[in-house]
Structure formats: C-alpha cells, structure tokens
C-alpha cells in the first residue's frame, strides 16, 4: 500500500519507499526494486568492486611488484575487512526485507523459455546498436538472468574459497592450490560480468533508463513495458 499524506500536513511529500512485498505500477512509472533489494545490491556491488580491485593486484603480473609490500599489505587488510561486508550483508537483507520478491528472483532466474533463448541470440546485435526485434521478457531478461546465475553461484564460491584462504596455512596443499585457482578464476568471471553490467546499467542507451530502479526504486513505465512486457502486463496497479 502506498503511504498517503498525513491529513494535517499540506506540503507535497517526497516519494517514500513503499512498504510492499513486490513491484507495482503507479501511473506512468513502475516501482521495480524494493528497498531491501537495493540495499543488498549496493552492499554487494560496492564491496565486490573493492574486493575485485584489491584482489586483482595479486593476479595481474607486475602489479604487486609495482605497488610494493606496504601498499599490498594495505590492500590485503582492506580485502579482508570488506570481505566481511560482502559475506554478511546482502543475503540477510534480502531475506528480512524482500523475502517474496527475492525468492521469486532466485527461482525464476534458472528458468529459461523459448523467448529467453531467442533473446540471447539477438542480444549481441542489440548490444552493438544494430537493429533487432527482441522477444518479450519477464521481470529480468535472459542476459540479466545469466548475470544473476553468475552472482547466485559465484557469491558462495567466492565467500567459501575466500575464507578458506584466510586460513590457508591449515589447508592440505592440493586443496590450497585448488582453492586459490577457483577463487582467482571465478573472481575474474564475475569481474567480466560486472564490467558488462555496469556498462549496461549506466551507459548503454537501451538499458540505462533503468538505472533509477536501483537508486529510488522507480523506473519509467514506457521503458518497463518496452523491455519487460510479460512482467509489466501482470503488475498490480496501485494508487
């Protein structure tokens, strides 16, 4: 239910975060992401970027030598502190504040129908600005589902291998080598995904109108209808 203005206060109210269990339409705009979803997103995203940056210093040849021991030590400490944020914030936030919506997201992410497959085949043309008619999509298009899968599988992989590495002295040698390998490889897979994700969310003309979805929660109705029609058509209308 949208919050109504208190009767005693005549001033226009700032758009407040609605207490809802899921997205809805309101006039010419759509409430796409709940507060808890946005908080979880930014906690995950910002901590991931710091972790990626500090972690890549160990992986790219020459960087660690260039930065030197003191800077690398600071990077290492930063990595472990931010790792705590990356580990403990996102999931509990989603469970407590957006249980149904996030649950739907996780369940739906692994289901691909024919429209999703055709979307994926046509997406490269769309990405590079070539003309293509893409099929209707649900709340998340097939590309976003792929990114979601990478996050849903990648996050526990990084968290588990990461904390194992904090205690790598205790690991048997082979396990230690595998853990280091998986941790650095998956980090870069997620890093590649995040490059694409940031570009699409903030720069790509077709996708960037959706950016406000992750800040205020609201996106333009015409954009939501044009890109996520199967979801848009089923959204409840609220005053």
């Amino acid at each position: 239910m949208a919050m109504s203005k208190p009767a005693s206060d005549p001033r226009p109210q700032a758009p407040q975060a609605p207490q809802v269990s899921g997205p809805f339409r309101q006039g010419d705009r759509v409430y796409r992401f709940l507060t808890a979803e946005r908080i979880a997103h930014w906690a995950h995203a910002l901590s991931f970027l710091v972790l990626l940056f500090t972690g890549l210093a160990l992986v790219i040849r020459g960087v660690a030598a260039f930065l030197g021991g003191e800077v690398m030590g600071a990077f290492g400490l930063t990595h472990r502190i931010v790792a705590v944020v990356f580990t403990i914030v996102a999931v509990p936030t989603l469970i407590v504040g957006a249980r149904k919506s996030a649950g739907d997201w996780v369940r739906g992410t692994f289901r691909f129908d024919k429209d999703d497959v055709r979307f994926l085949m046509g997406f490269p043309k769309d990405f590079f600005g070539l003309k293509v008619k893409l099929p209707d999509q649900g709340r998340f298009n097939a590309g976003e589902k792929i990114n979601s899968i990478l996050q849903i599988l990648g996050w526990p992989t990084m968290v588990i291998t990461g904390w194992m590495l904090v205690w790598k002295d205790a690991l048997p040698r082979q396990l230690g080598v595998w853990t280091l390998t998986i941790h650095s490889f998956v980090a870069m897979l997620l890093g590649a995904a995040v490059l694409g994700h940031i570009y699409l969310a903030s720069i790509h003309p077709h996708a960037r109108p959706g950016f406000t979805g992750m800040t205020s929660g609201w996106v333009p109705g015409w954009w939501a209808k044009g890109h996520y029609k199967k979801w848009y058509d089923k959204l409840p209308e609220k005053q």
């Binding site: 210093a57 290492g76 040698r173 082979q174 390998t181 490889f185 590649a192 694409g196 044009g226 890109h227």
Partner: protein, 238 residues
C-alpha cells in the same frame, strides 16, 4: 657454466639435525623455523623392520612452483641452480607456501616473508660450501658443480641405490631394501594444478575481463557513431 647438484646419503644420516641448526644459525632463523628437517621413516614388522632418516627441504626445482605462483617475482630460479628470494619484493601472500610440493617454505612473522633455503648461494659464489654441507657430521651431504669434471659429485650420484628427485638437481641415496616411492616425497604430484592455475585459468580470466572491456568500448563507440550520424534518442524499441 656452473650447475650445482646436491647429494644426500640417507644411509649414513645420523638424524642429528646439525644441518638444521647450522642453517638456522647462518640464516638468523628462529629455532621454530627450519629450512631443512629430518623425520624417521619406518616400514616392515619386527624383527624385519626397515628404517631410515629422511631429509625434507627445498629441492631447488628446475621449474619451481613457488616461483611460478609468486605475484611479485620475488622468488627466482638462478642459472646455477639455487632458487632464491628477493625479500624486498616479498609481500607475504604465502602463495609459494601453498604451491610448494615439499612444504619447504617457512613464514617469518617478524619479516612478513615466506623464507626458504637458498642453497647458501652467497657462500657458493665465494667458493664455500653451504652451512649444512660444512657441518654434516657423517659427510652425508655433498654439493658439487656438474660442469666441473674434478668435482666429487660425479662419483657420489652414481653410488648404489641413489635416485634423482624428479625435476630437481637433488640426489638421495637410500639404505638397501628401501625404495624411493615409500620413503621420499613425490613432488611431481599436483604440479598440473599449479600449471592450470598460473598458465591457463588466470590468463583466461583476464582474457574474459579484457574481452568484456573491449566489447563495451566497441558498443559505446557504435552508439556514439550512431548518434553523430543523426537519428534521435534510441531506446531500443518501437
């Protein structure tokens, strides 16, 4: 040219660990950090038990996994053989400790560095022997230059029941009836994983990231060209 080979005659090793202590003394190591260690290997049943002291230390591998994984290149293989560390460059990440098949690297908390045996490269350079070789009470440890025809190392490595540790310049002589498979570490196990990590997966990951970066730059360029050519805002649908 100089190419060092190192021979250890386990059949006369007394297990005294003088080598360990002499090395600690020379390298300023805390007593709880050891570049070389002795343990006891036993097999068989009374009264036909076989046993030997076994040395475990850095074997200065030909293609050392520790050097492969070192992010700063602090660990390096020298042309003469010893694998040495430039401690200014060591950032204490401990990747080398994970990668070493012989568990030969030790972590010095004070220096925040993963230290190792250097085969006393500094002593070899001035014609002296490593501390362990100099001190060995039974003469079980011998080091020599394979490119020096007068060196005793040539005769030593041909003694009966002597095996060369694969991928290294180290030769261990075992007491009779004890085979290398039982008593000695197999350092070749798991080197494939290090190779996969350093030479396949890490570069592949960077390729993915580079590819993603290239794709998005191309995309941005394409849209920039489109908007320069004219045509209104393109939101990607009718």
């Amino acid at each position: 040219m100089t190419r060092y080979a190192y021979f250890i005659d386990l059949s006369i090793c007394a297990g005294c660990e003088s080598c360990t202590v002499a090395c600690q003394n020379k390298n300023g190591l805390d007593p709880n950090l050891a570049y070389t260690r002795i343990h006891r290997y036993e097999a068989g049943t009374y009264p036909d038990m076989l046993g030997t002291f076994v040395v475990n230390q850095c074997l200065h591998c030909d293609d050392p996994p520790c050097a492969q994984v070192c992010p700063t290149g602090a660990t390096q293989k020298t042309a003469e053989g010893p694998v040495v560390v430039e401690y200014d460059q060591c950032i204490g990440c401990k990747y080398c400790m994970v990668a070493c098949p012989y568990d030969a690297r030790v972590f010095d908390e004070e220096k925040n560095a993963a230290r190792k045996c250097t085969e006393c490269a500094d002593r070899l350079a001035v014609g002296r022997k490593p501390a362990c070789v100099e001190t060995c009470l039974t003469g079980a440890r011998i080091i020599g230059d394979l490119d020096d025809p007068k060196s005793i190392i040539h005769e030593a490595i041909k003694r009966p029941n002597t095996i060369q540790m694969a991928g290294t310049g180290f030769y261990f002589r075992l007491p009779p009836q004890i085979t290398s498979q039982e008593a000695l570490a197999d350092g070749t196990k798991g080197t494939g994983v290090v190779y996969a990590w350093q030479s396949v997966l890490q570069p592949l990951g960077q390729l993915f990231m580079g590819g993603a970066a290239a794709a998005l730059l191309a995309s941005a360029a394409a849209f920039a060209v489109k908007s320069v050519k004219g045509g209104g805002a393109d939101h990607g649908h009718e």
